[in-house]
Symmetry: C2
Subunit: 336 residues, 2 copies
């Protein structure tokens, strides 16, 4: 293109080429030329010159001038998880609908990275920040508050900003209810239920466990702590924990509540080595949804968090009217 090598074309180049002033160019290019009743001919000359010179706004400069970057920020642990991947895509869709440029950054569940990335995004002057899947978001909330940038905690709540979280307890209760029905119909013992995955003391796990226990309690069953295999997130841990249970009890649980996708992967890793009859004695339910779950030789019920609604609520939580620290709760959906 006809461009002086190094530099990109600016509105001044266009102004020169079209025999107008930079401000006129700016007005025309921003579509507000009707409002200023700029001569049609002038407008045409300008847009034509812009096209010819291959002009492209410099949003950095515009952002500086307007103190509006047009950037929407979100951090999350990683994309390598269907839930967060969906969340990221829902975020981008909502951001684009608002003419914002989405910046999503994964932080690998490392606090140092979370802090660094947050600082960088604030320095880039994102207009707001969604903090997803961070167990202790308060320090990040504080950074945002200090920078005067609105933020919302998503998936895991914090006290420093509005939070949008799923109804983990209610969801787990419903999911467990389905497992109970299935197991009962097969003559399985409710006392032989197992909760697999997650970490004691963490928000999501604790709430899901509570829902799990509650549903069983409603059926007169109070499990002992040995039925909670809160073995952490890695698939291998879940595999080993389930294997240990199997060795101990000589069979799979009658009902298996699986905390998350990663644990699900581990569970399948173990059960896939078992003969079909062993599997038939067991029903399972997974919190958070993986498409592969529907395809397994296993009676699985899945529960999915509704990322679309979560994101819509997160954007709503940005408006001053909802700037409270109360978690906005939403209900996940049971799939099968």
């Amino acid at each position: 293109m006809a461009r002086p090598a190094g530099r990109k074309t600016t509105i001044y180049d266009i102004a020169a080429a079209a025999n107008a002033s930079a401000s006129t160019v700016s007005l025309v290019l921003n579509g507000s030329w009707a409002r200023y009743r700029i001569k049609e001919d002038t407008a045409h000359r300008i847009t034509e010159a812009a096209r010819r010179l291959g002009y492209n706004v410099n949003l950095t400069a515009r952002g500086l001038r307007l103190s509006r970057s047009g950037l929407a920020g979100m951090i999350l642990p990683h994309y390598h998880n269907r839930f967060f991947a969906d969340l990221a895509e829902a975020f981008e869709a909502e951001a684009r609908r608002r003419d914002l440029c989405p910046i999503v950054v994964s932080t690998q569940r490392e606090e140092a990275v979370e802090l660094n990335v947050t600082r960088t995004l604030l320095a880039q002057r994102v207009e707001f920040l969604f903090i997803a899947g961070v167990p202790r978001p308060d320090p990040l909330d504080r950074l945002c508050a200090a920078a005067g940038v609105p933020c919302v905690n998503v998936d895991l709540p914090g006290s420093g900003a509005p939070s949008v979280v799923s109804d983990n307890r209610g969801g787990a209760k419903r999911l467990t209810g389905i497992l109970i029905d299935k197991a009962t119909r097969r003559g399985g013992s409710l006392a032989a239920f197992l909760y697999l995955g997650g970490v004691a003391g963490e928000y999501a796990t604790d709430n899901r466990v509570a829902g799990f226990m509650e549903a069983l309690h409603a059926h007169g069953v109070d499990l002992d702590p040995g039925c909670l295999a809160l073995c952490g997130y890695p698939p291998a841990s879940a595999r080993d924990a389930l294997s240990a249970y199997f060795d101990r009890c000589g069979r799979l649980p009658a009902g298996l509540f699986i905390n998350s996708i990663a644990a699900f992967e581990g569970a399948i890793g173990f059960t896939s080595g078992l003969p079909a009859p062993a599997l038939d004695a067991c029903v399972a339910g997974c919190f958070d949804w993986d498409p592969f779950a529907a395809c397994l030789p296993f009676d699985v019920t899945m529960l999915r968090q509704d990322v679309g609604t979560m994101m819509r609520q997160a954007f709503e939580a940005l408006t001053p009217a909802r700037q409270d620290a109360r978690p906005l709760v939403m209900v996940p959906a049971i799939l099968a």
Copy 2:
């Protein structure tokens, strides 16, 4: 913090608070104060004031001044795919290592979105752009070229910029070789192999099919076109195609080459409804890797593209020394 409500603190605020000038503040805060031999005391006063006022650089302003945004851009179809998710994380890691702020945007395989997002990222003055998984990247390459922004095509090649692609043909050949060995050992017929998924005419599919055919040809087998079920990407299509094959032949293929993760999902959707003996007659291989594959009641070999190497090569391709349009080829890794 002690900040005049609306405005964020600037170096001028610090200058005032520390009794210095803005330029001194800038020097100190950028670490180059040693070079200018600024008095230790002054420097300390300034850093202290900055801390106290909760200062945070405005990268927008710095970017404008230096014509360096510090932004690294990448577009990809979606996160909801282990390959691209891994790619995105590898990209972010490399970008951060270079003190760049990664901006990854998913474009949902829609050309209009690809063009829009590219324009936006160029307007944000990203320092370079990686274009991943775009079948016809040339128009995007041209946009970048016009803006003077280096770009690299990743995963799918284009002629307008350097490309980093896996050795699809070689990888498929090796993968097929493994299937052939397994099938032969079981007494399966090589003529009863099936290629499932992908789209004829697309780069990745065509190359993988070529490798598939080549490996079989080396064993004296030339499949007829009926053994290529290039049914597209949606899981449901793959499921239906495999189901049709099963109905037609009365059994699963002896060797099943699956083009991609999505097709794999569909294949499992069908096979999970089959009795174990039907499965035992079949070995499968999946191009692109899903952790669940390792867990399935199915003899599956997986091939994974090495995203770390791909990203490293992509960054290398940015340097002028390699600014040619020749695809940089790299070898994927067989997993199991």
